[in-house]
Symmetry: C2
Subunit: 468 residues, 2 copies
């Protein structure tokens, strides 16, 4: 941005310190303008994302790429924060191995190849793959009615689609993801050969979408392979099964669980001048799935969190409270980083007042979802008009982010950036979650919006009474 304008902005920020809360609207408005201007003209976020996506690539927990991402972001954070350091955390390591093969064969002998991918954490099939019958269900709740006789020895095909009529696509995801996460555990109890899950994708395409699954309390010898099938091929299989209930499904995958390996959360902060023990946390997760390069999930959140610190430094703003960026490891298949971080803060004399996560893609920001109290929501609503020039309008109770979840009941307001969600699940956990799908301005506006909320919390701290 223009240096003169920046100086004017900074001068007005200084005035803000001297004035009472009620008279600060103009100063806050100037501060937000300064933040947005910086992000839209001099942000580092897009270049950081390009490196993470194109130079490093997919960053599955425990992979060499995840370690490269730790080292790269630590080095970059050194440049923009007062201090940067690693928090060790053990993470599961799972590898996909050879790309998966799947097809179905009708009783007349017709063979149709379908696009599948192993779910994260799944076991392999036998080395030569496995053919079996397949039974379609609309969700876990149908298994009990079908019973062991219908299921045993067959693949279970979970085909409940995401509901297109949900405007907030995360709700549609929430309505289906139990099939992916718990489908294998549930089907294994009835002796299934494996599970094939319709991809969590609102779009009809040929890309299978991976994601975490769990065997829960199953004994290891009962584990069965689990794979996702693309939405187009889910429809194809559904149609084929209508005509031929006895068709045979073949799946071959050789993924491996390697146990636990050493990894790290990356943490950096700018120390508060007045209340250094009050922490405002921003974060995203460094790990990603392996099919794409994890640009939206969650490269975007990582670089936006880094950018909050860079924005503070570059605009010369001196925060009262400590502003900390945490790049969590292993959000995707274990949440180990988030748990380790939460465990640690309870042993320190620090109070978190805001924990803000960006993990919903680098799309145009719309606002925030909050997990907090009425008193705190009242404070947030009082800031709404400051965000109107930036078309930020969504400040609602409901949802924050997986990584900040373990900080619930610490007194912190938990929050999640809410970008426009319509295209998120087109890319989520699939091979097209790539750098070219992220728009620079949308990414930058997200970082500016996060920085603005951080600024307001830094100025005012946590409200202690309901605003009239």
């Amino acid at each position: 941005m223009n240096k003169a304008l920046l100086l004017v902005g900074m001068m007005m920020l200084s005035f803000a310190f001297a004035k009472a809360q009620s008279s600060n609207t103009r100063q806050d408005s100037t501060a937000l303008r300064t933040i947005y201007n910086h992000n839209l003209t001099n942000s580092k976020s897009y270049d950081w994302l390009e490196h993470l996506s194109n130079e490093i690539g997919g960053r599955l927990s425990g992979s060499p790429q995840a370690q490269m991402a730790v080292e790269y972001t630590l080095a970059e954070l050194y440049k923009v924060a007062d201090t940067a350091y690693l928090q060790p955390v053990m993470v599961p390591r799972w590898t996909r191995g050879t790309p998966e093969i799947a097809y179905f064969k009708t009783t007349k002998g017709g063979k149709t190849k379908v696009n599948v991918c192993a779910l994260g954490g799944s076991i392999a099939t036998p080395a030569a793959g496995k053919s079996a019958g397949i039974i379609e269900v609309n969700g876990l709740e149908e298994l009990e009615d079908l019973g062991r006789n219908a299921i045993e020895g067959k693949y279970v095909f979970y085909n409940r689609p995401m509901e297109a009529t949900k405007i907030q696509t995360f709700e549609a995801y929430g309505g289906c993801v139990d099939q992916r996460y718990s489908g294998a555990e549930a089907a294994a109890k009835y002796g299934a050969a494996g599970v094939i899950v319709r991809s969590m994708n609102l779009r009809m395409d040929d890309l299978p979408h991976t994601g975490a699954m769990s065997y829960g309390d199953l004994e290891k010898e009962k584990y069965i392979p689990a794979a996702a099938i693309s939405t187009n091929d889910a429809e194809l299989l559904h149609e084929a099964l209508k005509n031929d209930k006895d068709l045979q499904f073949f799946l071959q995958q050789d993924c491996t669980n390697h146990g636990e390996v050493q990894s790290y959360n990356v943490i950096a902060e700018i120390k508060g001048t007045q209340f250094p023990n009050e922490v405002i946390l921003v974060g995203g997760h460094l790990d990603s799935w392996d099919l794409g390069d994890g640009s939206h999930d969650d490269g975007a959140g990582v670089v936006q969190s880094m950018q909050v610190l860079e924005t503070i430094k570059a605009t010369g703003y001196s925060p009262k409270r400590t502003i900390r960026a945490v790049l969590f490891m292993n959000e995707e298949n274990g949440l180990r980083g988030a748990r380790a971080y939460a465990d640690q803060i309870f042993t320190k004399n620090q109070k978190h007042i805001l924990a803000l996560e960006s993990d919903a893609g680098g799309f145009s920001p719309r606002g925030f979802g909050f997990d907090t109290t009425d008193i705190q929501m009242s404070q947030i609503q009082s800031w709404k008009s400051l965000f109107a020039p930036y078309l930020i309008h969504y400040f609602e109770l409901g949802g924050s982010g997986a990584d900040v979840g373990p900080l619930k009941n610490t007194g912190a307001v938990l929050a999640g950036l809410r970008p426009d969600s319509q295209r998120y699940f087109d890319h989520h956990h699939a091979s097209n979650d790539t750098f070219d799908a992220v728009n620079r301005r949308e990414l930058e506006l997200g970082a500016a919006t996060m920085s603005s909320l951080v600024y307001l919390y830094d100025q005012y701290g946590l409200a202690t009474k309901l605003k009239k």
Copy 2:
């Protein structure tokens, strides 16, 4: 959608007719839910757009493709409206000819190719192209100071970029587009050899963006060629000129103005049951530029307008007022269709109460811009909460659409759909304005949002007093 749910929706709509305005919130809410559900599950808009984009392609006024688009949309509108017809309109026909060539040569002889395209309406260069010096300016207002001595015989290079700090990108466009539209006319008055205009694009890339230009009142023999240069190459040229003010710029283009040819607006309507002479208009423009296939500009607006009629028919809603879709011809280089439409309505005994245009791309809808009075804005604001579940929040005075502009002062509320604008100018008038850049859900949500506003105007007509 589910047929039973549709029936329930329709029953509740019937109740709405019998109730007073103030008690209709629940019925309106149900109606909007029905509209959104239909659009997100059974819309034709995306299939229509695929045909316009992939089967027909770029639809420049007077081209065979524009005529194909007239015939296709007329045939499709027959299927979903009570009546569909053509309104004849004469339009300018301009063709690009051979793809343009441009490079610059430094005084030391280094030659660098740059990406350019002729602006719409420009004349050709001499057949072998033309080399000349080039002088960079930051806008039209610099020409007078430079004067004829500095400009004569050279290309004028207009390099004022769109301002990245504008959140509403159309404002950034408005701050630059005079260079493209009037740059040649202004430079010709000082004897320039031609003009090279930085593309109206916030992104740095290699794609030149065309668009309309005008020679104004210039005598024909003073016309000079005008071309756009990509943003990356504008920067390249800017850097080269810093070191070498005497470098030579070469441009070769063989575009042609063919005079006027016959074309048509495509119009279709569903007749109102109670107030057939009160018209609610929805529209977009059928013509596009020739470099891409015009999917965002304005295939999206065309199919969304068609979809408003389809939604009314498919949900069984019987409008009180006449709902009319107008697919305007020649918005891009003349606005002939819009003027012809406006001229015609003054001769008919019909009152337009709303004229709503979609011409800002098929991105996630955020709301509407209105060109109207305080009384009408008060009515619109009273509907705001009905749109909240769909994350539609922007209802502001300011801007509507070029094609509905000539209807100003008819008493109609003029409105423009406002989708998220961050990515629009990445594609606008360039070769990447293509079908793959449009997301199905975002397109459908836009059509649903338009249909919802149409429904509310149909229910309540125009407010006649300020709402308390």
